[in-house]
Symmetry: C2
Subunit: 330 residues, 2 copies
């Protein structure tokens, strides 16, 4: 009799460790670069414009030996019913037999894999001596971004947190942030321009539709991990920054159509050819990342289904080992 | 705490009744016709040509209040490992909140919904006085087709079973068929031409890539439910039959690209415009089906994801009522 694993939100919170997820997402980028990781076409449906939609991201990681999908639903009116607006589910299958492996609640997992992505951008593209991180956005994702960054950038000394809506949110975020390290100072900031000028690594994770950070503010050597733009029309940083920066992405196709590079390409500030490569090509050593301490580097992370598949697979493998989750006959 | 239902193969075998599935699939066709049922784009991936592939069919049934997907994997080498070559999983979500409802093993469910489809074709398009069914193909699907046909065609007196590979299979199938009715005679046949000429309803469910049934054999008034063609290049009946027949389908797009009508359209025997309508338009009364006892009618059932969503939803609703299946925190 075949069995599948079902992992709840609580289970994934117990199971996933950032170090393991980061390693898994690095393998995702490598597999995508080498061709053994393949992204299948996105399915998107809007039930009602601005009110409710869903998408299905799917793909295969042949080396890891797993394929599958994530379906994410967004129902904007849910909070008024006491329900989460975002919910999602990941389904995994064994590449050698096609049999289902398991079903995983996707909320925490998505936070972890997105945090890992932002940190991997900095790990491979930021200056080695980076000490100051600026987190733009103090929502759900900010916590994952900072935790992951602390994991990969060992010399981190300061984390600025800026909220584009109000300063209180940034303060509140820091006071509640549970993963503070003694070696790091966490500072809510109001003056974005000065904070940008004083930062080595800038992570943006907002739903912004206009640039928050202007070119004139950015010092040479800065690295950006842009996490927020994942839908047409979204933009977090001035497209003129892109013009003089070295550009990397997790997926060129998504980057030019729905990512941070979309606006700049559409208005002619940059071209698709200005994108040096996908980040996996840097991890695989096929392209250089940063080549000088003066480079401004931008990693546009649009999010790919393969990240969810890898993160889910890590959770399932661990669940089997340490006996967490529910095994159900299928 | 949110919970989802997990239904195994055994659960679906206990839960699903053909009468209910037939009613559900009729509602699917009606929803598709009226526009409240929407089919999302198909995702298909071939891991290795002729060896292993998978597809994701998805869509929404707004009236029924459910959306979701079915992922089906086909791994041709599985039987040599003692595993099924086909496996699949259905995931359902609540249209009012986006929250996951459940996960259902898809094998038996797919058989039931496909049997229902073939029978619905006959229910709405065959002559009222139909008494003889010819089942072409004696594989896994034949049993579901005959069971469903017995459910909707109350005057059925004879069921011929023909196997295109060998007669013993047809004989063996009938001897093992568990759902025989006393009012019906079940006859394995070797002479396809004579059997076609003596049948009122012909159901084809084979993997054939060339026509098995020729135009000259077919008497006026015959109805065909063509279930086998669901991939480019497949064909079960002579395309010249289509030329003089009234043509219906579950999905026009699939029908002309991967269904029974593909070959005839590609070689110019028929055109896309010769397809009268989708079957849901007949169920909704927007188009006539058969208008004379002399019409030859053809229903090309290519299979749509909405059938799986409906069948899965029926199973889940019943599971909740009679306490079958596994409820898992999520």
């Amino acid at each position: 009799m075949h069995k599948i694993f079902v992992l709840s939100e609580d289970d994934t919170r117990q199971l996933l460790e950032l170090e393991e997820v980061i390693e898994g997402i690095e393998n995702v980028y490598k597999e995508k670069s080498s061709g053994s990781g393949k992204v299948f076409p996105l399915v998107f449906h809007e039930f009602e414009k601005g009110v409710a939609d869903m998408d299905i991201k799917s793909g295969t990681l042949d080396k890891m030996g797993v394929y599958g999908l994530k379906l994410v639903s967004w129902f904007g009116n849910n909070p008024s019913k006491g329900l989460p607006s975002l919910s999602g589910i990941v389904m995994l299958f064994d590449s050698s037999t096609g049999l289902p492996i398991g079903t995983i609640s996707a909320e925490h997992m998505t936070g972890m894999r997105t945090g890992a992505a932002g940190a991997i951008g900095a790990k491979y593209l930021a200056r080695n001596n980076s000490e100051v991180m600026l987190m733009v956005g103090s929502g759900h994702q900010a916590s994952y971004q900072i935790r992951a960054m602390q994991t990969v950038i060992k010399g981190l000394k300061k984390v600025f947190v800026y909220d584009p809506i109000n300063f209180e949110s940034a303060k509140g975020f820091i006071s509640k942030f549970e993963y503070k390290l003694d070696s790091i100072e966490y500072i809510p900031v109001q003056d974005l321009e000065t904070s940008v000028a004083n930062s080595d690594i800038i992570v943006t994770a907002t739903p912004s539709k206009k640039p928050l950070i202007m070119k004139e503010w950015v010092k040479a050597g800065t690295h950006f991990s842009c996490m927020g733009s994942d839908m047409s029309g979204k933009q977090e940083i001035d497209e003129n920054i892109l013009k003089s920066a070295k550009l990397f992405t997790d997926d060129i196709l998504q980057s030019v159509s729905v990512g941070e590079f979309e606006v700049g390409i559409n208005n002619g500030t940059i071209t698709k050819e200005d994108i040096i490569c996908e980040i996996g090509d840097v991890l695989n050593g096929e392209y250089d990342g940063r080549t000088s301490d003066n480079d401004i580097t931008v990693f546009d992370s649009t999010g790919i289904g393969l990240q969810d598949i890898a993160a889910g697979y890590i959770a399932i493998q661990k669940a089997k080992k340490i006996n967490i989750g529910t095994e159900v006959k299928f």
